[in-house]
Amino acid sequence: MKTVAGGVKHRDVVTPLADLTRPVPIAAALVVAVNDHLLKGAGLVPAAITGKASDVAGMVLAGVLAVAVVRAAATAMTGRTPRRTDGLGVAALIAVGAFFAALKLVPAWNHALTSVWGVNTLDAGDLWALPMLALTYVWLRDRDDARERHAAPPRFVTCAALSVALLVCAATPAPPPVPPPPRPGWVLAGPPLALPCGEATAWIAKTGKTGTGLTVRVVAPPDAPPCEVIVASAVLRFADGEVRGQEVPLSGDAPLPPPPDRDAPRPSSAATYHYLGFVFDNEARWNRHQRSAEVAIELEVAGARVPWQLSAQQQFIEYPAVRR
């Protein structure tokens, strides 16, 4: 029989890990794996359940794993296998609880682990899973009392169970999508424009190094005929000059109606859209710290000209997270 240092047999070192081949830790590992990698975010099970299932099952699995590993280490070092529920085993369970509590309570610890391990929610409410360690203790004590009744499984099975348990504990679920880096761009400020046949609203739709583009939406009152509007002119005025906007036809690449998965509020009545592009060296203006401008739009409604002034600021814009 091969031995490790000190004449301890390999089999004696591996035997404590055989706890991981029992149905309870295997079921816990299955719950963590299925919940983290299949159920979370799939919409099949309520989020209130998927949010806690991994914590509960993970406590059991981590507790059994920690006690098994420290017992194996103690066997390798001393040649004697301690009971699961003596001081060393209890210390291992307490360490698991302390690690989990710190992960859920201490922002610095949570942040440090998140950066190297994966996303873990900082949520004190998850601490209610801690009593599962007491249940784990009871299960381990039962195993101590029943140790004579079960033959040790083959070492391969034990090592495979250890590998799976470690993998399940280490592989956190895929992180939720994060927002992309903020980008500078123009933002419009100003109230909607009241028109004889409805209301006009404008917003910046595109903004970047080579200029910007804004969208004008004209909405007629409910049950009224569409409000026919022509954009007669559009100018972006800076302190040192101005840029004329060009209306770009909305056809082909800009299909209407919108895709169904967007959450943006939709006008209830008929709306028409106009897109105006402004081409200029915005990178140079950004680098020169030119951060404000005015937009002057002239709309033609039923043959009459309606002027519209809006202020524009250039600033960093936060964009929402998108699963790519």
């Binding site: 998140t114 950066s115 190297v116 391990w117 994966g118 996303v119 992180p175 994060v178 927002p179 992309p180 880096p181 980008r183 500078p184 761009g185 917003w203 910046i204 739709a205 595109k206 903004t207 970047g208 190094k209 080579t210 200029g211 910007t212 583009g213 969208t215 939406r217 060009q246 770009v248 909305l250 690449d253 800009a254 209407l256 109606p257 919108p258 895709p259 967007r262 943006a264 509020p265 939709r266 709306a271 859209y273 897109y275 592009g277 402004f278 081409v279 915005n282 990178e283 950004w286 680098n287 960093f316 814009i317 964009y319 929402p320 998108v322």
Partner: protein, 204 residues
């Protein structure tokens, strides 16, 4: 006292990156309508990538053999590297990068200059005599691909006046190095280095 302050500042800054604002607007075609003209959220622009200046410093340690040492030389060197590079994708501070600290940002490709000094060399002869001495100062140009680097330059030993070429290749924490000093001899070896970057990053 002032040296302590400089050292403290350097240690605190190491492994961090700093954002600068120039060229920050991203890439769009203002004359192309947005994909969803009804959306009031600005369309996220295309990524212009980013540029970086990286100051890296640390120590390396390795073993060398050749005619420069009686048998084997253990070489500990201090190095500082200044490099400039670009990345086609802007890093995202909010995204997790497994096992890479968030503060560490490195360009995909970069050029740089390394100044180093083999400040401690322990020479061991066949007769088990051990001599501690200093080694060459070297200046190298380098080309890097994220964690891999090749570099070449000149090494000068101030003790002997020997001068000659030196070449390096490294990946992550491991390096191979060869140098030949006219009149002194040559050596080949390798080892590990521990260097941390401080990066200044801005948009392309």
């Amino acid at each position: 006292m002032s040296r302590t302050i400089i050292l403290a500042v350097a240690l605190v800054a190491t492994g961090c990156h700093y954002h600068r604002d120039p060229n920050a607007p991203a890439v769009i075609d203002p004359l192309a309508p947005p994909k969803d003209v009804t959306s009031e959220q600005p369309e996220y622009p295309d990524d212009p990538g980013e540029r970086m200046v990286v100051l890296t410093y640390g120590v390396s340690g390795g073993a060398f053999g050749g005619s420069l040492a009686p048998s084997v030389a253990v070489d500990v060197a201090a190095e500082v590297t200044l490099s400039f590079g670009e990345d086609t994708i802007t890093h995202n501070d909010r995204a997790s990068r497994l096992f890479i600290p968030r503060g560490v940002v490195l360009p995909d490709r970069s050029y740089g200059v390394t100044l180093g000094w083999s400040a401690l060399r322990v020479l061991t002869s066949d007769a088990d005599d051990t001599v501690t001495t200093t080694g060459p100062i070297y200046l190298q140009a380098q080309r890097s691909w994220l964690f891999g680097t090749v570099s070449g330059g000149v090494a000068v030993d101030p003790r002997t006046g020997g001068i000659g070429p030196q070449i390096d290749a490294s990946y992550t924490f491991y390096y191979l190095r060869g140098r030949a000093l006219a009149g002194d001899g040559w050596e080949l070896g390798g080892g590990m280095f521990f260097k941390l970057p401080t990066t200044w990053v801005w948009s392309r």
